[in-house]
Every structure is written in C-alpha cells, then in structure tokens.
C-alpha cells in the first residue's frame, strides 16, 4: 500500500500524533509574505504567474507520497504555507466516524490510532466489517433496495457484490459492470429509468433525454415474469428477472436493442424460435444464461465505464463525501490527481482512493479557518484551507450512542425494508435478515431501531422514505427521546449506579468522583481529554453540590451526565 505522506509533512504529523495530550500541536504556517495573505483566482491557484512558476519550482524539490498533497503543493508549500493539521484525537475521531460508522472507544483512540499515521490506521480499519457495512448502507441508498418491490434474494446478491468491492475482490469497473445487470437493479428500474438511475449513481448526473431513450435499448431483453418461490407453503410471489430474447429478434434488434449514442452497441441474444414470440424457449432464466451470453448482457456497464466522467465521478463522490464539501469542483487539480491515482497505482480499488483522501492534508486539517488565504470575491477564509464540520448520519449517530452507553435496540438491515416471509410447514417464518430477532420461533425482526432511525431520516425503505439529514425542533426532539431512552435504560444505570458505564461503583458529587465521571465521558463522547475550562466546571459543580440543601442526586448522576454529553453539538458534529 502506498503511504502517500510527504516526507517533510510525515515527520511533522508523526510528531503531532506522538505528542498529543490535551494541547493542540499543529504546524505553524511558515514563510508567509509579510505583505499580506495570498489571494487566489477562481481556480484556487496563486494569482501571480511568476509566483506560480516559483511555486512549481519549490514543489519539484519536494517528495510527496500522497497525490492530493502533491496536487495541492503549488497552493501550499509552493507559496510558503504549511498544512495545518488537527490534533491526533480529533483526527482519530474523524477517521472512526467516517470509516467505522461510530465514534471510537477510548481504547481504540489510544491503542489503535494515536501514534500511528492515518494510512497505518486505515490499513487496519478498512479491513473491518464496520467499514464494509458503511459501504453497504451507501449502496442500499444508491440502488434503492426495497424488498417489497424486488425479490429479496436479488437484493442479497447485489449486496454481496458491494461487499466484494469493499473487500478488494472486485475492481470498481468490474463491480459496476456486474451491478447494472444484477436482477436487483434490472427489476427495480425499468425503461429509461435504468439509464437515469445508472447515470445518477455512477456519473453524478441524470441522463438527458437522448441518452435515456438510446441507452435503454441495452436493457431491452430484461423482463419481469411472475414467479413463485416454492420454498414456502403457499409460495412467495415475486417478479423473476428473465431475458426475453424475442424482443431482439432480427431485424428489430437494430431498432430496439442497439444503442448508438456512445458508439454502436447491440445487446441481443440468439432467438431460439424467431417465428413464435412467446415460445418459452425464447425466455431465459438467470440459471440458463451462459457465460458468453452474460458477457453480451453486461454491455451497459461496459459502456458506462468507458465514459470519460466515470472515474472522475467515482473519486468526486468519495472526495466530497469525506471532506464534506464540494472540493472536487473547487480543486480540480486535486480531483485530476485522484483520477490518475485511481486508474493507475490504485488499480481501480476504490478503497485506496478513500484511504488516500483520508491521509491527505485536506482531510487532516484543523476545522478552524486561517486568514492566510482568502477567497477573491468574498474575502472569506479559503474554503480548502480548513476542514469543515460534518454531521453524523443517522445510523452512525445511533450506533455511537449505543456503543457509548452499552445499551442498544439493534440495527437496520440495509437490504430489507420489510423482511419477507411465508408459511413453512404451516408456521409463518421470516427469511434470514440482519435485524435483531424479536421472536426466535419465526425469526421475526425487531424493528425498534429502524422505527427510530426512520423518524430521524435513516434506514429508509426507498419507497415511502428516503435518507435525509434533518435539523429543526422536530428532529431534535426525536433525537432527545432516543438519547433519554439509551441513557436511562436499566443497563445504563438508571437508579443503579455503575452498570455498563462501569467506571466506579458509587458515583457521587465529590470532586474525585466527578473528575472520574467527566474524564470518562469526555473521552467517550468527544474522544479527548478535559480542557481547563471543563476542569473548572467540575470543580465548581462539586463545590455547589457539596453545599447544604443542594439538589444533586447521586442516583441520577450518570443518566443525566450521559444525556447532557450526548446532546452536545460537539458530539453530533465532527
């Protein structure tokens, strides 16, 4: 794996990671012209042509392991600036949320992250199931899984492809080629929608009218046929994906099954009986397709992956998602460097792209803006010079709350909105799923987590609800209700001190106990140590609660502390 940190920066960053206790140690900007901040033209490059030449000369002498840092050099080291790295604890929290889907435990922060380079951390974390789970969730949204519409086995198969992609068994191109003829895709979308959705998911834009009407011909033969899953007593009805070769009987194949917009491509198979349209021999099930026939059917993906914007959008999506703003548009040189890396050294492994992004100075920056580079029109601090604050996704937030409190109500299965079932030997049984099991006798799913998540905009069924990031009174009210539930659960303490918090046996409002509690919660919720002002707060609270008549109830210290910490903006944002 390439460790793309520049030599100079790597030393500074490693020093930062190794020190990291309480105080922030970043890289001081150096070499700024005392005449004032650097002004950028709208491309984000230095506006002075002579300076650009100098900048390139400076960069030519530096070594970079990270293509993003190399692309950014003319605007940074090239003009005498330095990256401004966030403290390692913030970085670890950021990495965990983005790559594990939850805040890290303090043990993970101290033993698996601090003291290591981001690349080293991600080499381990991207092998975890939690990383793959995040990808499964993303693609569930993109492909709009819904087991009320599509046969659940088809969704299982497409989800397995996603897992193969994020376990390194498929390149990105191979994945897309397979996915666009997966039954979960062809039976979810029809006609021009197949083109439209493919473009939105893999090219970042909708197909225009001509593209839709032309390219839909590459899927003409895919037809849903009513079928019954005989594993169930009365059958489980679904629409089977079949290849109806008659639709492409010559000479009609030239009209209905040939696309021309991006070169001539025909998707037609030999018709067993061209004289009888509905001859069953002309209708092929998935099991009947030969490898050679599959190669023809996979043409839509093959066309898509050759389009110039295909790889560009793949890196754009990852870049913008991880950075939290439209960096790809504002920093086209960075985007280009990522594309070249993706198709070159990364060998179309999308995981490597994500690792490179998360190891770059762009991702690792402090969230505070700098005044050494400004936007030309607004005069505001340059957008790329600091890391933005992001908001946790719903499931990430819920899973973080559950992991901290040690109490949970389960999870969602990104594949199934409903969980299908049927009678087997006269007993109603649900198919295998990844929800918690409410009733082991029939495998019924426990939907409590899903119900809460859907209130907040997560676990969408992609039919009546879609993912959204909400804010506002209503949304926050629902969040508070969930936090209260987790913090007041029997395991979390309630009226029993300790429990899953397990830090001490007899919480009280004396200073040592409060220090212990606040230290634990600061680490758990915010992934850092207490700051002086927080130490002062604890001292003040201990003193106030020590006074006669003070209303400080030890029995409820932990749940109230839990609620307060998990409701903070610092917990919800990262």
């Amino acid at each position: 794996m390439n460790r793309w940190l520049p030599i100079v920066v790597r030393f500074e960053f490693a020093l930062t990671l190794m020190i990291g206790v309480g105080t922030w140690v970043g890289c001081e900007p150096g070499g700024i012209d005392p005449g004032g901040p650097v002004h950028l033209d709208q491309d984000g490059g230095a506006s002075d042509i002579a300076a650009s030449v100098d900048a390139l000369a400076v960069c030519a002498k530096l070594e970079f392991d990270n293509p993003i840092d190399q692309a950014l050099c003319p605007q940074l080291q090239g003009v005498g600036l330095s990256p401004r790295y966030a403290d390692p604890y913030s970085v670890c929290r950021r990495l965990a949320i983005d790559f594990l889907g939850r805040v890290p435990s303090w043990n993970e922060v101290t033993s698996q992250c601090v003291g290591k380079s981001p690349a080293e951390v991600l080499d381990v974390w991207t092998t975890r199931d939690e990383y793959v789970e995040l990808a499964r969730r993303r693609f569930a949204d993109r492909f709009e899984y819904n087991d009320g519409i599509v046969y659940y086995q088809y969704i299982v198969a497409l989800d397995a492809l996603v897992q193969d992609l994020y376990r390194g068994k498929l390149t990105y191109d191979e994945f897309v080629i397979e996915a666009l003829v997966a039954p979960a895709y062809t039976m979810r979308h029809f006609g021009e929608s197949r083109v439209s959705r493919a473009f939105q998911v893999f090219l970042g834009r909708d197909a225009h009218g001509v593209e839709r009407s032309d390219l839909q011909r590459l899927w003409t033969m895919w037809v849903p046929m009513y079928a019954v899953d005989e594993d169930f007593d009365f059958g489980l009805e679904y629409y089977e994906a079949t290849v109806y070769t008659s639709f492409c009987t010559p000479p009609y194949d030239e009209l209905f099954c040939t696309s021309h917009f991006y070169g001539k491509h025909k998707v037609a198979l030999e018709v067993a009986n061209p004289l009888l349209f509905d001859d069953p021999a002309n209708i092929l099930s998935l099991d009947e397709l030969t490898p050679a026939q599959w190669e023809i059917l996979k043409t839509p993906g093959k066309v898509l992956t050759t389009l110039p914007m295909f790889h560009e959008y793949a890196v754009t999506e990852a870049l913008n998602r991880l950075l939290g703003w439209d960096a790809a548009t504002r920093l086209p040189e960075v985007r280009q460097s990522l594309v070249e890396y993706f198709v070159g050294p990364a060998q179309l492994d999308i995981r490597e792209v994500e690792k490179v992004i998360a190891s770059s100075s762009l991702y690792l920056q402090v969230p505070q803006p700098a005044d050494d580079v400004v936007e030309p029109i607004t005069g505001e601090p340059a957008r790329w010079r600091y890391s933005p604050r992001k908001v946790m996704e719903v499931e990430t937030w819920m899973d973080s709350v559950q992991s901290i409190t040690g109490y949970g109500i389960g999870r969602c299965d990104p594949r199934f909105a409903y969980v299908r079932g049927g009678y087997i030997n006269n007993v109603y049984q649900y198919v295998d799923h990844e929800y918690p099991v409410a009733d082991p006798n029939n495998n019924a799913p426990d939907m409590r987590y899903a119900d809460v998540a859907r209130l907040l905009g997560g676990c969408p069924d992609h039919y009546e609800s879609f993912r959204y990031t909400g804010t506002g009174v209503v949304h926050t009210l629902d969040q508070e209700s969930f936090i209260q539930q987790m913090c007041w659960s029997p395991l979390a303490g309630g009226l029993s001190p300790g429990g899953a918090f397990g830090v001490w046996e007899k919480p009280s409002f004396d200073l040592p106990s409060l220090n212990l509690a606040m230290t634990h919660w600061t680490r758990a919720a915010w992934s850092r140590e207490m700051r002086p002002e927080e130490v002062g707060f604890v001292e003040g609270l201990a003193k106030a609660c020590g006074e006669k008549g003070a209303e400080c109830e030890p029995e409820t210290l932990l749940p109230h502390l839990c609620t307060a910490m998990l409701k903070t903006a610092e917990f919800y944002h990262y």
Partner: protein, 476 residues
C-alpha cells in the same frame, strides 16, 4: 507573491479555464432558458375560496384505491363489481347527492353509547350530501394510459410531481403564513401519521428544516415513561450542555457556526413542543380526564373505531386541536391484486366510517376562533391511482383482484368534504362502459387538486405548482 491586497476580480487577464467556464455557463444558461421562462399560466390563479379553511385533513388510501367502486359507483359491473345481495353496485345516498354511492359501503348506523343513550353514528350513505366527488382526477390529463407505477405515482400524489422531493406537508410548513418569521419557531407543525403518509413529509436536500412532524400512530404516545422526552433535567446538566455548546460554536468558522447553530437553536426550541406532546389527550389508548370541549379519548375512539384508520384519524383531530393546520393520515393496503372481493370491502367500509365519523365529530368540537372544527376544515381522500385490467364479466382479474396497468386506472374518483365545501356535488362523469371521461374539459389534474387543497388553507401555490387549482372541489 503577496503584493496586492485587493482581490483580483477586476483583472482582465482571465485564464483559459476561466474563459471555458464562462462559455459553459453561457451555453448552459441558454439551454435552461426555455425551461425556466416559459410560464404555464399568464395570470396568477387564486381560488375564491382562498384561506376558507384553517385545517386540511388528507386521508391517503395507500396502494391504489379502487375508488370508482366507492365514489363513482354507477358504472358497468366490469368497473364496479362490488354489489349488494340484490346485485346492485350502488345504493341510495342522502337527499341532494349527485354522485353515486357505492354499494360497498355499509348502510348501518353504529351505536355510540359514550355520546348518549340514543346516539348513533350515521353510515356514510346517510351523509353523502356532505361530500362532493370529482370522478376524473388524473396525473396526466390527455394521456391515454395512466402511471401504473407505485413508485412514481405515489410521488405524484404526495408531492405533485413525478420526481418531486418536497411533500405536500413540507410545502405547507415552508409557505403557510403562520410559519413565516417567528411563527416558524412557535407554531405547531404539519403532521404526517402512518408510514403510508411518509412521502407527504419528504423534503428535498436543503429543505430538511421544513420537515413536518411524523408519528406512526397513537402507539407513539403510549407508555411514555423513562423513554419519554419529559424527564426533567437538573440545572447542572443543562449548564454543562449549554456551556459546551457555547464553547464549541465559538471555535468554529462563521460558515460552520451557522450550520451547527441550527442544531443548538433547535434544542432550545424543544421545550415548547415537549410540553405539547405530553398532553394527555394524545394518549388515545387511555382515557384521562380532559376539558369537555376536547371530547374524551374514549369518545373519539368509539366514533372512529379500531380499524386501520381509526386511531390515526383520531390522532389527526388531536393535532388540529394542538394547532396544526394540516395533517395527512396514511393507511392501507388498498393494492388489491388478488382476492379483492374479500379484502377490499372491510377496508372500504372503514374508510367510509372515517368520513362519516368526521362529519359527526367535527361539528361537536368548538374551534378557538369561533364556530366548530367542521366549519374550518377541508377533508379529502387521495390515492396514487385507481384500478383496472379486469374481465368484462367479473370485473376482476384472474386472481380475483384488479391491477393498474391500463387506461382506466388513471381516473380516480376522489371525495371532498368540510365546512367550506358544498357537498353532494359530482364533477367528472365517466362512461359506464369504458370509464373514459364524458367531457374532456371535466378532467382534473391531480396537481390542480393538491393546489386547491393547499390554497383552501391559505398556502400560496403559484411559485411551485404550475397547474391551476381546481375550484370544483368546493362543490356548488
């Protein structure tokens, strides 16, 4: 290098990239111009009944309601096979009813002992003259076939557009006068009740702040113990949280302060809604003592019943009483592809009961602004499409159900009622044999119907709904 403190915006020396970008913008703008500038109408279209109501209740019969069998029933047996024991597919309605009441509805009164010894809930046919029906509501007037895709048709009825993202309730929350300015922080939001109403509360990216309240149903207010939002928190905990937020926000960029600030502000606004949602009248499964003008929970549940609709519609009434201007209640499943003769009647009867119950209850609830809730409420039933693909002799498909793939499923027969509406009317007659409109001028765009519903509670629709509002929903 850093020799000029002034922005370079006035520099004539554009890079090649800058030139290309400008050209691309110009081309793009030219391409977009026809789409943006061609107006659908030349004049603003506002109903005379603008703001005639203060509350809007929409019942979404999810799955594709076979609405002619209920509200446009005098058609061929092919299109309405739901007959009474005598073989009639209609039944008499109340005097003054011009639309044809389906035989599928119950014609029996229901005793209401909690309301009084002699009190009875009249069946829907007995109050049919309070209801006006449009028999030809369609998503695409002039189209030969209907949109038979659940996915897209649901979006059409919930948002007004094929690919709409902002649901009807989100539009209300964004545009209703009561939510402008400080009203946004204090006025009770619109509400969606039931999973089948969720799309009406969807929001486009960037409009998340206008997302309405959503509840699954009365069960959301049961057993509100430790998991509830009404745990009082000690002062020290509130101070800890507030101080942390203050420090955190102060450390951010101005841009991020705005974003994070929304969360902090929203937390501050919770207190008002927390108290509201603790009101005992929302615990419909219990019968706490309430002020007489609210009517007891037990009485409400007796009227609305315990079917798929009852608890949710009762909850909707409570939301009105808390100040919400609009509620969508969803229930189903009306997607009767098979066994329709056994599956549809009970849920059609239940739907009919809700309309009859609303006609009974709302006049008994005094409104804070005077009169009763009936005077100030508009009620409608919607669905994503109607049904077809049925055999001539049976009116059913081969699975004893009906589908939604042809021409006939595009015409919905939808009812409207409420104080501002002159009931009994019927607009949009269809051929009994073909279900085609008798008069092509009497075909109503579903978006126009939605526009009329929104305008009835004073929401301006001219900026987002190009279709003219349909005045016929008000009858007369």
């Amino acid at each position: 290098m850093c020799d000029d403190k002034n922005p370079k915006m006035n520099s004539p020396q554009w890079s090649r990239r800058e030139l290309f970008r400008s050209a691309a913008l110009a081309i793009g703008a030219t391409t977009l111009v026809p789409t943006i500038w061609i107006p659908k109408r030349i004049f603003a279209d506002t109903l005379n009944q603008w703001g005639a109501a203060k509350h809007l209740l929409i019942l979404n019969a999810d799955g594709g309601l076979r609405s002619p069998s209920l509200f446009n029933a005098k058609v061929g047996l092919q299109w309405n096979p739901h007959v009474d024991p005598m073989g009639n597919n209609t039944q008499p309605g109340a005097k003054g009813t011009k639309w044809n009441v389906g035989a599928i509805f119950s014609n029996e009164s229901i005793p209401l002992p909690l309301w009084g010894d002699e009190e009875m809930l009249p069946p829907l046919p007995a109050v049919s003259n309070s209801i006006t029906v449009l028999g030809t509501v369609t998503h695409e007037p002039g189209a030969a076939l209907g949109d038979g895709n659940h996915f897209s048709a649901k979006r059409r009825i919930a948002t007004g557009f094929l690919n709409g993202e902002d649901g009807l309730l989100t539009r209300i929350y964004q545009h209703h006068p009561m939510y402008q300015g400080k009203g946004f922080d204090t006025a009770f939001p619109p509400v969606a009740i039931g999973a089948q109403a969720r799309l009406f509360a969807s929001a486009a990216p960037g409009n998340g702040v206008f997302r309405p309240l959503f509840f699954n149903g009365p069960q959301d207010f049961q057993n509100k113990g430790a998991s509830a939002v009404h745990i009082d928190r000690p002062k020290w905990a509130l101070e800890l949280e507030a101080a942390s937020d203050q420090r955190f926000v102060a450390s951010l960029s101005p841009r991020d302060q705005q974003i994070v600030g929304l969360y902090v502000t929203a937390k501050a606004g919770i207190d008002r809604f927390r108290d509201i949602l603790k009101h005992p009248m929302l615990r419909l499964g219990e019968n706490p003592s309430l002020e007489p003008q609210l009517q007891s929970n037990a009485r409400l549940m007796e009227v609305f019943g315990n079917g798929i609709w009852g608890g949710r519609v009762a909850l909707a009434i409570r939301m009105f009483q808390l100040g919400s201007p609009a509620v969508v209640v969803g229930a189903g499943n009306y997607d009767t592809h098979s066994n329709e003769t056994t599956e549809l009647p009970p849920i059609a009867v239940d739907l009919g009961r809700q309309l009859a119950a609303l006609r009974y209850v709302l006049p008994k609830l005094p409104h804070p602004s005077g009169g009763t809730y009936w005077d100030h409420t508009v009620i409608s039933v919607v669905s994503e499409f109607s049904r077809d693909n049925v055999e001539l002799t049976t009116g059913l498909n081969s699975a004893n159900g009906s589908d939604h793939r042809g021409a006939q499923s595009r015409m919905q027969a939808l009812p409207f009622m409420g104080g501002p509406i002159s009931g009994g009317g019927f607009y949009g007659e269809t051929s009994p044999q073909t279900m085609e409109p008798i008069d092509n001028d009497d075909v109503f765009h579903s978006q126009g119907v939605l526009a009329a519903l929104l305008q009835s509670i004073g929401v301006p629709t001219v900026d987002f709904f190009p279709e003219n509002p349909v005045p016929q929903i008000f009858g007369g």
